[in-house]
Point group: C2
Chain length 219, copies 2
DNA sequence: CAAGTATTCAAGCGAATACTAGAATATACA
DNA sequence: TGTATATTCTAGTATTCGCTTGAATACTTG
């Protein structure tokens, strides 16, 4: 029976490893991150990733087989989404562990997210207070479909490519906080740069929408 | 600069994938699970896994390189341990996701952990109450080194191989709750079988020690 | 039914990975 | 210094993985 137990363990960990292997590819990890913002088609994932549609589709089959994603049809489009909330949490935790353990991750963040922003990002607590007070413009600079899938309360959807031509919509004396896809996205940083160049008082938040919602969910 | 951004993303997700790849092997996942119970030598991991020392050592180098584990020397022994608590949480979450998503995992549990135990495991809430009341024997059937590294309050260390010859130590009228390494370990199930065959009123808990401690930590 | 669009599948190629076997290294002790 | 024990390293082999290319499939529309 000790031998049965060994065999059972091998099979069990073989199954666990299916999830691990699914997360063992940079492409698939980025796909999962993109899907955590909103459901997407194969083609739109391919554009975001700079990969071929065929390649993206093959990776999606792997994620599907591991049941980390699910699909629905919309005409000729297959819309992929994360299978459930726990998959999103797993992804976030993998990134947290990566940042804690790997100096290379911290260095990559330093490259673009630390050195050039003399003002540190707004903390989550500050953000909560600012949202409550309603004293800032809160802008979501992700693509509109991601805003539509879920956004912070009171946020305006100002996709980054449109930002420069919408500056006149705002009172230059009212501060702006920009956010995007979370800790590993450069959109908010780019937005703050554009805004400050235009004379606005702007800072960014590194909060993720899903993480914010989880923390502020009412059961 | 959009090209810079793409390159930065590729490097970042390449780093995240280092963690994913480290978790993409059944052997390494089982090693991490074993280390979450207590620090261990290469040789003891090899015994538990039924693998060669050389093979285990190579996998440990991969985990070391991904900084998921750390080491200390003890004579000729190299003692490996989990790098930090977040690694343990990542592992638990990967197993949770595996069980939610993969029917094969649920089936493997059914094989040994569902069908033959007519009495379901003690829930965590029941266990808390039982520990408070002090009305049961709570026995930890893991190896002594794992008990020493951390155990539930009030638990006795009764390693499974010794159980059968220690039955006379207990009042047959007092119920027993056995626990081991958590949801994916068969020791408590085996212990309960031995105890019931000897006429004891015995149930098992599927709680993991680390998970229990996290929930009951005083800051 | 034909054409267009989106997606998936299959095959090939090169790179990466897991295990084994044996050698090399590190540490402790007499 | 030599021996024993524990661990790591190296090389070879078999298998798996990731990407590309082109074909096949699925769906929609006219």
């Amino acid at each position: 029976m000790a031998e049965d137990s060994r065999v059972w363990k091998d099979r069990l960990y073989g199954q666990f490893a299916r999830i691990g292997k699914a997360l063992g590819s940079p492409r698939r990890l980025e796909m999962l991150d993109l899907l955590s913002q909103s459901p997407k088609s194969v083609e739109s994932l391919a554009r975001e990733l700079g990969s071929s549609v065929a390649n993206v589709s093959q990776h999606l089959q792997i994620l599907l087989e591991a049941q980390l994603v699910a699909t629905r049809k919309q005409g000729t489009f297959v819309i992929y989404r994360l299978a459930n909330e726990t998959v999103a949490q797993l992804l976030e935790l993998l990134e947290t562990v990566s940042e804690e353990c790997l100096a290379d991750v911290r260095e990559l963040r330093d490259l673009y997210l630390t050195q050039r922003d003399a003002l540190s990002p707004v903390s989550d607590r500050e953000l909560e207070a600012l949202i409550q007070e309603g004293t800032v413009y809160l802008i979501d600079v992700r693509p509109p479909s991601e805003y539509a899938a879920g956004h912070l309360p009171g946020a305006l959807s100002i996709p980054l490519p449109e930002l420069a031509e919408r500056l006149q919509e705002w009172d230059p004396d009212r501060p702006i906080v920009a956010y995007c896809r979370g800790r590993y996205c450069l959109y908010a940083r780019d937005a703050v740069e554009v805004l400050r160049d235009a004379g606005f008082s702007a800072r960014r938040s590194e909060v993720g929408v899903r993480e914010w919602r989880r923390r502020h969910s009412s059961a």
